[in-house]
């Protein structure tokens, strides 16, 4: 299976919320370059780690390495640096998640032992702007990574390789024997 050749830093779309693809002002979405290291610096190590954990709980793929979730959260690097209200939203969202986790399970969110327990905390936050923004942004930033595509079997760009006409576009025959 071919691994797509991609530049290291890819660009993502700014998604303002779960439902908004065009930004509120009606201008074109801006492209943000994900930078996990910068995001950690801007948000703080503990917050960044918690967001990475929440990201995995929202879209759990057991075989995905942590770095894929860290990169997904990394899309907030430039954004949170430039936008104080976004940074506040993320920090306060994590603080709320931690508070609820300590209330229910006596530990910060990232230290709550089981996924089901952590989901209880998230389910109580479903209608918050924090959850809505995170879910809406991560569905783009997580699944827009070539490393994720490789895990899921998606081969990505093909024109430069001559398409799939000679690379298995019709290579399966099991459906005729079903």
């Amino acid at each position: 299976m071919d691994t797509p050749q991609q530049p290291k830093r890819r660009q993502f779309f700014k998604i303002a919320s779960a439902g908004t693809v065009a930004s509120a002002s009606g201008t074109l979405p801006m492209l943000f370059v994900p930078d996990a290291a910068l995001a950690e610096e801007v948000l703080g190590t503990a917050v960044f780690a918690t967001l990475t954990k929440i990201a995995r709980d929202i879209f759990p793929h057991d075989r995905f390495d942590d770095s894929l979730y860290a990169n997904a959260v990394g899309v907030y690097a430039d954004q949170a640096k430039a936008d104080a209200s976004l940074k506040k939203l993320l920090l306060e969202g994590v603080a709320t998640a931690n508070a609820r986790a300590r209330e229910k399970f006596g530990a910060d969110y990232a230290d709550v032992p089981t996924e089901n327990q952590r989901l209880e905390v998230l389910n109580a936050m479903l209608s918050t702007p924090f959850f809505g923004k995170l879910r809406g942004d991560l569905v783009v930033s997580l699944y827009n990574q070539p490393a994720v595509w490789a895990e899921l079997g998606y081969q990505g760009p093909s024109a430069q390789l001559g398409g799939y006409i000679n690379r298995g576009f019709d290579d399966q025959n099991w459906m005729d024997k079903a």
Partner: protein, 523 residues
């Protein structure tokens, strides 16, 4: 080769929009020696600018100017500012379309007569018949190079199609094949054959798929009678004291405004911008907008009954390998009320890449249920249902009461709610698709709600009588002789078929009519 440039005071034919309707009309007129300026709101991206990458291309070519939504459709909840997924670029939505080129069926042109008076629906017969349109369908199929016509072999079937075909056979369906597609199966019209690249929605990198961008438009430009101005967004159509259209005011992204004089104005901005332009052109003489004596401008917005079904198997499908739309089952497109609804639907294969699948499979969902589906991505087959939705006056494009765009003009609101017939049809389609996929062993079947509308129709509809619609059988507005509509907003009803072939086919007799009228000094 630089194409001809016209002056603002040249009384040319001005066409708003460069897609299936505007691009084709522009070329047809230019071939007859008539001077045309096409105003295209978007930029000019050529094949070199296309990328095999879903989100970057979405950003590059989609219409993303702010729109609002209302009504009970799920799009208003999941994508409140994205009612439609269409193109803002030279070539219009022919840049990103899948290529499906089906003729509307005979009975669908007489929807009111055949379906009867469906309560709550604003059904009306088209003022033209299939018989009248047939010669133009034939010309369009030749122009576009539609497989299955003109001795053009159908495309080979990819894995996604093979799943569809195997299931269709088990279901007892009879009319299934790889489709009538405006995609070269062999070199034709100076364009190469399909390489099964799988990024049709992102612009065809080989030009095998027909698009006005690299067919009609360059052919028209070569005559010296066609000029395409990109980054030229039409703002207002002006008229004189007698009500005759005199030209189009337009603006660019730098804030400049220009007025192009016109002998004839043709509106082909797709079904949201076209009525919006007519409404925004309201004047003292026409306080309800241009060509709106019927009150139907903006009304009867149709988006087709759509929905998708994705099925997960134990074996790989690699559905992303190959054309995005790779085959069709047509049996359900008949009119058969024993199923509980009027009209019918087509079942067409569809594939999305991982980025889009995550965003659109079931918008808003998360957790293991969702990620388990994504884990099985490579074992997924999928189809898109496209069927006839009912025109309703309450589904409409209106000018937003307060919000303005970058030019200071009211933005459009798109209101839509399903009719009971749409819901019954969709449920039937979901059920049939599930049965089809399960008949060859699907382990899990997912129903995907309609995407932001890729088919947008009906908002300046054709009618025999001026009181019932906006334009006549030539696309000429009832109210203003030298004002035409040239896109899918002309459709009286939606039919079950993808609209592009019909839009192209209507542009051909419209060009003839305009040319005759100009020669006869009607305008």
């Amino acid at each position: 080769m630089a194409s001809k440039k016209f002056g603002l005071n040249d009384e040319v034919v001005v066409i708003v929009g460069s897609g299936a309707g505007g691009g084709t009309l522009g070329n047809e007129l230019a071939q007859k020696g008539i001077d045309v300026v096409i105003l295209e709101a978007g930029k000019r991206h050529e094949i070199n600018d296309f990328e095999n990458d879903e989100w970057p291309m979405f950003s590059k070519i989609s219409w993303l100017d702010k729109r609002t939504t209302s009504g009970t459709w799920r799009v208003a909840k999941d994508f409140p500012n994205l009612p439609a997924w269409i193109v803002k670029a030279v070539g219009g939505s022919t840049v990103h379309w899948a290529g499906a080129s089906l003729r509307i069926q005979k009975h669908e042109f007489s929807a009111r007569s055949v379906y009867g008076d469906v309560k709550g629906a604003n059904l009306l017969d088209w003022p033209i018949t299939l018989e009248e349109l047939e010669p133009y369908y034939a010309l369009a199929e030749n122009k576009m190079g539609v497989t299955g016509t003109n001795d053009i072999p159908r495309l080979p079937g990819n894995n996604n199609y093979k799943v569809l075909a195997a299931g269709a056979k088990k279901m007892g369906y009879e009319k299934f094949h790889t489709g009538n597609m405006a995609i070269n199966s062999q070199p034709r019209d100076s364009r190469g054959a399909c390489q099964q690249i799988g990024f049709c929605f992102q612009g065809c990198k080989t030009g095998a798929k027909w698009s006005t961008l690299y067919t009609e438009i360059p052919k028209g430009e070569k005559t010296g009678h066609l000029e395409v101005r990109s980054d030229a967004q039409a703002l207002k159509i002006e008229h004189d004291a007698s009500g005759k259209a005199t030209g189009v005011l337009y603006g660019d992204s730098k804030g400049n405004r220009y007025f192009q004089k016109a002998r004839v104005v043709c509106v082909a901005g797709n079904s949201i911008e076209s009525p919006r332009l007519l409404l925004n052109s309201a004047s003292t003489l026409f306080p309800n907008g241009l060509a709106n004596s019927s009150g139907q401008v903006g009304k009867n917005y149709m988006r087709h009954m759509t929905g998708s079904v994705y099925a997960i198997y134990e074996n790989p499908v690699h559905m992303f390998r190959g054309t995005t739309m790779a085959g069709i089952v047509q049996d359900e497109s008949r009119h058969d009320t024993s199923r509980g609804f009027v009209g019918g639907y087509e079942m067409e294969t569809l594939a999305l890449g991982v980025p889009f699948m995550a965003a659109f499979l079931d918008p808003g969902t998360w957790g293991r249920d969702f990620s388990n589906a994504m884990d099985a991505y490579d074992n997924m087959a999928g189809m898109w249902l496209v069927g006839e939705d009912m025109p309703q006056e309450s589904n409409h494009i209106t000018l937003h009461a307060t919000e303005k765009d970058q030019f200071g003009l009211p933005i459009p609101n798109v209101q839509f709610s399903d009719h009971a017939n749409d819901i019954a049809m969709r449920n039937h389609g979901f059920k049939q698709a599930k049965a089809l996929y399960e008949s060859i062993g699907a382990k899990r079947v997912i129903y995907t709600p309609p995407y932001p509308s890729t088919h947008n129709l009906g908002t300046n509809r054709m009618s025999a009588n001026a009181r019932d619609g906006v334009v006549n059988k030539w696309g000429q507005t009832h109210d203003i002789k030298n004002l035409f509509v040239s896109d899918g907003s002309q459709f009286t009803t939606g039919a079950a078929e993808n609209p592009t072939l019909t839009i192209v086919s209507l542009a051909i007799p419209q060009a003839d009519f305009i040319a005759r009228s100009m020669a006869g000094k009607v305008f």
